[in-house]
């Protein structure tokens, strides 16, 4: 069982019913970040999915951090999720 924590900020929490932190469990032994993103789209977001994903990818303008590290340094969607990881999604698209 793989337990991780998802964090939403910068306005994205409005897509998850106001929940900023969502703990989730996966039965898989090993999975990559694209599976987690797919899980969020299917299970956590009720509407306006296009605000989170566009096509196969997280919407441009959303920053992703893995344990406070920019996902660009971690292989982005190919990152292999580890037990206890905290994955943060922050929208840069709101307000000024």
């Amino acid at each position: 069982m793989l337990r991780i924590e998802l964090e939403f900020g910068g306005g994205l929490e409005s897509l998850t019913g106001g929940n900023k932190v969502v703990p989730v469990e996966f039965s898989e032994e090993q999975l990559t970040l694209d599976r987690v993103i797919d899980y969020i789209r299917t299970n956590l977001i009720k509407e306006k999915h296009e605000y989170f994903v566009q096509g196969e990818y997280v919407r441009p303008g959303i920053l992703v951090l893995i344990n406070d590290v920019d996902w660009e340094l971690e292989g982005k969607t190919r990152y292999v999720v580890q037990q206890g990881d905290r994955i943060t999604f922050i929208s840069t698209l709101h307000g000024g």
Binding site: G11, G61, D70, L73, E74, I90, G96
Partner: protein, 323 residues
């Protein structure tokens, strides 16, 4: 995957990729990088004088929150004795601005800066809620934009600030350039051309007798601002205005973000490209004069804000847009 070390100090693990500079920095070096970049803009382009009163246009959003935080920090670090004020505009949008003003009040308390709020209802006798109930949601952002620009001017004058600093970042500037290009608006395109001081040419041409407007974050990318606020745990308000579909601007914005993902340089390249362009007909400077009704600086006898207000008062708000 093995974690990479900071490309600057080589000691701590890297937290953020600054791909346009081929850097990956740890938190500490990233803070220094952002603060030094802003400081460099201020020093090289002589944005502020020591001791002067600076109004920070504060919306409670990420950009102005980071701007206020960094200016306060630089003020203390370099002992500039700037007299920093937060200046907010209350557009009168229930369920949006009233909430974000609470964030600004939080900034006021956290950073110990004085706050002055100027409202549309006191300046124009109209709130945006009332404007929208008259004209609908089609051109409401035009009214709000014209009113806000002037409200910031008037607010800055009221608190006797000599300069207004706004939180516009590199992405905002590139986005506006793109938008004006896509609209074929060569006059605005030319005006969005930044000169070295971070002011548009238009703004500089009239700055001898009026408020200077500066953009200290103009060399900082939006990604960096959001990362800085996240790591520093700065509180900001991140809800879209309830009246702002920003349809067309939104497309330019998304397009820019897609370009950035493919090529992080795109944003600075767009700004650079415009600075190299010479736009025909743009030399015809409109003569600046005082509005005969409200005495603010205007290119016409009656300023745009007074024109819009007059048509709202007559119940013909929407027609003012199509003139």
């Amino acid at each position: 995957m093995k974690r990479r070390l900071c490309s600057h100090c080589g000691e701590a693990f890297a937290n953020i990729s600054i791909s346009r500079k081929n850097k990956h920095l740890c938190r500490c070096c990233f803070y220094n990088y952002l603060e030094d970049t802003v400081h460099q803009t201020i020093v090289e382009e002589k944005l502020f004088q020591p001791g002067e009163r600076i109004a920070i246009g504060a919306s409670g959003g990420k950009d102005s929150t980071v701007l206020a935080y960094v200016l306060k920090l630089l003020n203390e670090r370099y002992e500039y004795h700037w007299d920093l004020w937060l200046l907010s505009v209350d557009e009168g949008i229930h369920g949006y601005r009233d909430d974000s003003l609470r964030t600004v009040e939080q900034n006021r308390d956290d950073y110990n800066l004085p706050l002055y709020v100027v409202s549309y209802s006191e300046l124009y006798d109209w709130t945006m809620d009332q404007v929208v109930s008259q004209i609908g949601r089609k051109s409401n952002c035009t009214f709000c934009g014209v009113f806000r620009r002037q409200a910031l001017d008037k607010g800055a004058k009221k608190i006797q600030a000599s300069v207004l600093a706004t939180g516009h970042n590199a992405d905002d500037i590139a986005e506006t350039i793109l938008l004006n290009l896509l609209r074929g608006d060569h006059a605005r395109l030319s005006r969005s051309n930044m000169n070295k001081s971070g002011m548009s040419e238009e703004e500089e041409s009239c700055c001898s007798n009026t408020l200077r407007r500066v953009k200290p974050l103009k060399d900082i990318y939006e990604k960096e601002i959001v990362m800085y606020a996240y790591f520093k745990k700065l509180k900001y308000f991140a809800t879209e205005c309830i009246y702002a579909p920003f349809a067309y601007r939104g497309h330019a914005r998304e397009y820019l973000k897609r370009l950035e993902r493919i090529r992080p340089h795109s944003i600075s390249d767009i700004i650079y490209s415009l600075s190299c362009l010479h736009i025909k007909d743009a030399e015809q400077r409109q003569v600046q004069q005082q509005c005969i009704l409200c005495h603010s600086i205007s290119s016409q006898k009656i300023c745009k804000a007074c024109q819009l207000k007059a048509s709202l008062d007559k119940g013909q708000g929407i027609s003012a847009i199509h003139r």
